[in-house]
Amino acid sequence: MKIEGTHELRAPRERVWQALVDPAVLQRCIPGCERLEQTGDNAYAATMRAGVGAIKGVFNGNVKLEEMRAPTHYRIVVDGRGQPGFLKGAGELDLEEREGSTVVRYAGDVQVGGTLASVGQRMIQGAAKLMAAQFFTALEAEAQVEQGDPPPSHGFFRTALRAISGLLRRIFKRH
């Protein structure tokens, strides 16, 4: 399944890049990520408590960052396994500076298998888009934090509010 999208983050590209490669920030931004431990060079072991609504599950897996070309591009490879199923994916992220904001383009291929895929197939794309939106909303908040300040908090409703206000901003910008 292909997932792709573009998100505009109101933060300079250097700050967004720093946030994207910082495991402590990633752990706060990836929805439901409870643990992100370094296991090697740009390689991490992760535990994610992920889900939408009543459907939730715990996934354990590995995350690897490759082809890193600061501050414009990297490739992320993920594989995870959990009770509801398994997933394997790879994605390319490209960052472009635009008037003080950063446009992040991502394009990836994800395979989902197990119970989640057979029963939940009709919701997977929607769930993937939702989680990507949550991730980039949280990332924007992190990238906007000044050096030395405490990190922002990311509750579900806070993230949802940020996402909604981002959506409203985009709608009104067109007019």
Partner: protein
């Protein structure tokens, strides 16, 4: 598969249910008819530690029709709504929508409140609720609040209900005067869920033209939505074939459509237009 181990409690009052929810927070889940939750539990996609069964709570299941004011209790089953003669007279969209849900067994057990709180992107009730501009009453230990249908569906499987809230009642002001309603659905051949479902309610003004329209779509996007562009295209129009077709062209405008192995996003967008046109035509044809 069988569900993971869970505790079960069946309170007899709403206060008890709310206390249990508050006490157990993330571990507790409300059980109504169970026809969205239990299949998920059997597949272990949902594993609540405690099920709080509100099926035995008094006074949560009722249908009250008072002129144009309709109030339906959250644990009223789809069948009870389908079979209610007073509802069919007051607001036939509700009967038609109820009759299209799942199958007989699902309609006998599933509840309107449970279906709305679960907010499956392909559920049928959300389309009717949005088209009718219903209000949903949520209760918690802090008190009650009324949520407008437009604000209720936040995201896929996510509603505006807080974790400590229970949906208690659905309130609808049935359209008065010269009105017509219809629910048109393309059911998935295996699951019966709406690949696309469109609810339409039309009211004529004194001049014989459309005074107001409610059109809502389910199954197409990650959450159900009111097709506002379709509604404004219909307002003030003669509700003939041409206007219906022109209005229906906006059915999926600006919407991020779902794609899956059964129907691609493009196909769903196309279906949304076709079924919107059919729902408008059927509703217009029923106006007396």
């Amino acid at each position: 598969m069988i569900p993971a181990q869970f505790d079960y409690v069946a309170p007899s009052t709403l206060e008890e249910a709310l206390s249990l929810l508050a006490e157990h927070a993330d571990d507790a889940k409300i059980l109504a008819g169970g026809h969205s939750l239990i299949p998920a539990m059997k597949l272990r996609l949902a594993q609540p530690a405690l099920l709080v069964d509100i099926g035995r709570v008094k006074d949560l299941s009722y249908i009250r029709v008072d002129g144009g004011s309709i109030r339906i209790g959250a644990t009223t089953t789809h069948h009870e709504i389908e079979a209610s003669a007073s509802l069919r007279d007051a607001c036939p969209l509700l009967s038609e929508c109820a009759a299209s849900i799942g199958d007989v067994q699902v309609r006998n057990r599933g509840t309107i409140g449970g279906s709305l709180a679960h907010a499956d992107p392909a559920a049928d009730w959300p389309a009717a609720i949005l088209a009718l501009r219903a209000e949903l009453v949520a209760v918690s230990r802090q008190g009650e609040r009324v949520i407008a249908a437009d604000d209720f569906f936040v995201e896929m499987l996510t509603t505006a209900l807080r974790p400590d809230e229970v949906l208690r009642e659905i309130r609808i002001n049935a359209p008065q005067g010269r009105t017509g309603q219809s629910y048109k659905k393309f059911p998935h051949p295996a699951s019966g869920f709406a690949v696309v479902g469109v609810a339409a309610t039309l009211t004529l003004g004194g001049d014989g033209k459309c005074q107001s329209a409610g059109v809502a779509v389910t199954g197409v996007a990650a959450k159900p939505y009111r097709a506002a562009q379709v509604e404004s295209a219909l307002a003030g129009s003669a509700l003939d074939e041409q206007t219906a077709a022109a209005a229906a062209a906006h059915a999926a405008g600006g919407v991020d459509a779902n794609g899956d192995i059964y129907a691609s996003a493009d196909y769903r967008r196309h279906l949304a237009q076709v079924y919107t046109r059919r729902a408008i035509a059927a509703a217009a044809g029923r106006i007396k």
